[in-house]
């Protein structure tokens, strides 16, 4: 293959084979769930118990341990969805299409959580539930993009056609991702500027930052778990006439 060394190409080819993917994810799942639970426990304990209160907001700031990782995930998952969508369009790999659509509802959930937790925090801190500033509005547009992707996929009966349509919608929507990220720098907004991703030094105390990063990694694991479960189900549905699925369903599990 073009620019890609042969062993790597073979690895991806093997990974993209549905029976192999199904068996591998089954073996990986307990590990993923275990790591997720440990990270979540450490993150929550650190964030809600060990981390000191903020000098201005007191304990109210602790909502960042849910809000910020959710908001990061909403962007991250959208990028995964668009990239796998593009891979599906170009190389017609069935598994890429499945990962793309399985990501959509997880991403929509994270976007929703980010919007709701932000709103709950906004009322006491800013003095309002919602404002139409650039950051909040673009994040809401992201939620609609996710919902659009899910709706479009379900509106088309042939799932291969549906995946193509969805990938194009997701790719056009990619333009929103830098807008969300830079909205607080390009325009004056009520939402505060970036804290952690600032180039020089994050303006958050290290005792508060560590639990936040733990939560962010925990959320990533949760996404992988939720997405893989959905992908496995979607795969079984699409491949229901294939031999390996028949064998899997008729053979009693040892």
């Amino acid at each position: 293959m073009f620019l890609i060394p042969d062993p790597v190409g073979r690895f991806f080819h093997r990974m993209a084979s549905p029976p192999h993917f199904y068996a591998l994810t089954e073996k990986l799942m307990p590990w993923l769930v275990g790591i997720f639970l440990i990270l979540l426990a450490c993150g929550l304990y650190g964030g809600l118990y060990l981390a000191p209160p903020d000098y201005q907001q007191g304990d109210s700031y602790r909502i960042i341990y849910i809000h910020v990782p959710s908001a990061w995930m909403s962007l991250f998952i959208y990028i995964v969805m668009a990239v796998t969508g593009a891979i599906g369009l170009v190389w017609r790999i069935k598994l890429a299409e499945i990962v793309a659509i399985s990501s959509a509802s997880v991403g929509a959930s994270f976007t929703f959580i980010a919007l709701v937790t932000g709103s709950l925090w906004g009322k006491p801190m800013w003095g309002t539930w919602w404002v139409w500033d650039a950051r909040l509005t673009s994040e809401l547009v992201l939620l609609f993009l996710y919902l659009g992707v899910i709706g479009l996929y379900n509106a088309i009966d042939d799932k291969r056609t549906a995946s193509k349509a969805v990938a194009i919608l997701a790719l056009v929507g990619v333009v929103n991702i830098p807008i969300i990220h830079y909205s607080v720098e390009w325009w004056s907004t009520l939402h505060q500027g970036p804290t952690v991703t600032k180039m020089d030094k994050p303006s958050i105390h290290v005792t508060m930052l560590v639990p936040l990063l733990l939560m962010a990694v925990a959320f990533k694991f949760y996404y992988v778990i939720a997405m893989l479960q959905r992908a496995r189900l979607e795969l079984l549905q699409r491949e229901r006439t294939a031999n390996w699925v028949k064998k899997l369903l008729t053979e009693p599990t040892p």
Binding site: M1, F2, L3, P52, P53, D54, Y55, Q56, Q57, S60, Y61, I64, A86, L89, V90, W91, P124, M125, W126, G127, T128, V131, D133, A134, I168, L171, V172, V174, V175, N176, I179, W186, W187, S188, T189, L190, Q192, G193, P194, T195, K198, S203, I204, H205, T207, M208
Partner: protein
């Protein structure tokens, strides 16, 4: 890469770049409208609307908050570190409102050049730290300026 795939990849790249360019031009032309608030310099320069509601953002000037009368009316000055605008507001202020805090007020200018706010929102900054760290930072800053 097979020519068909390369062609599809190029098409996708063109589509993403096209959508990006379109969005960039659209946002550029709407730039003014996307600004959530006017700065105090804009107001002093007369760029803000005279008889319509608009939002004004800035830092509450230290020592400028006063309560004339015994009602809920509060008067303070906002600054962007170059021009100051006096704001009057009657109502309950958000938790984060204090001197030196960034806020956004919604209201209109009266004849005297005073901004009469109907709503005051606190703009939180991006700094998170424990109270002890804030206290020691403050002490260090006070030591530096004799």
């Amino acid at each position: 890469m097979k020519p068909v795939r390369r062609q599809r990849l190029i098409l996708i790249a063109l589509m993403v770049v096209g959508a990006g360019l379109a969005a960039a031009f659209a946002l550029k032309s709407f730039n003014e409208n996307l600004m959530y608030f006017f700065s105090t310099t804009d107001v002093s320069a007369g760029k803000a609307p005279q008889d319509a509601l608009f939002r004004l953002g800035g830092m509450v000037v230290k020592g400028s908050v006063e309560r004339p009368g015994d009602g809920l009316m509060v008067r303070f000055k906002l600054t962007d570190f170059s021009k100051e605008v006096t704001v009057e507001y009657t109502g309950i202020l958000p938790d984060l409102f204090r001197e030196g805090q960034g806020i956004v007020a919604n209201g209109k200018l009266d004849g005297r050049g005073v901004f009469v706010a109907e709503e005051v929102l606190a703009k939180h900054d991006e700094n998170y730290m424990p109270p002890e760290v804030k206290a020691s930072l403050k002490a260090a800053a006070e030591q530096k300026k004799p």
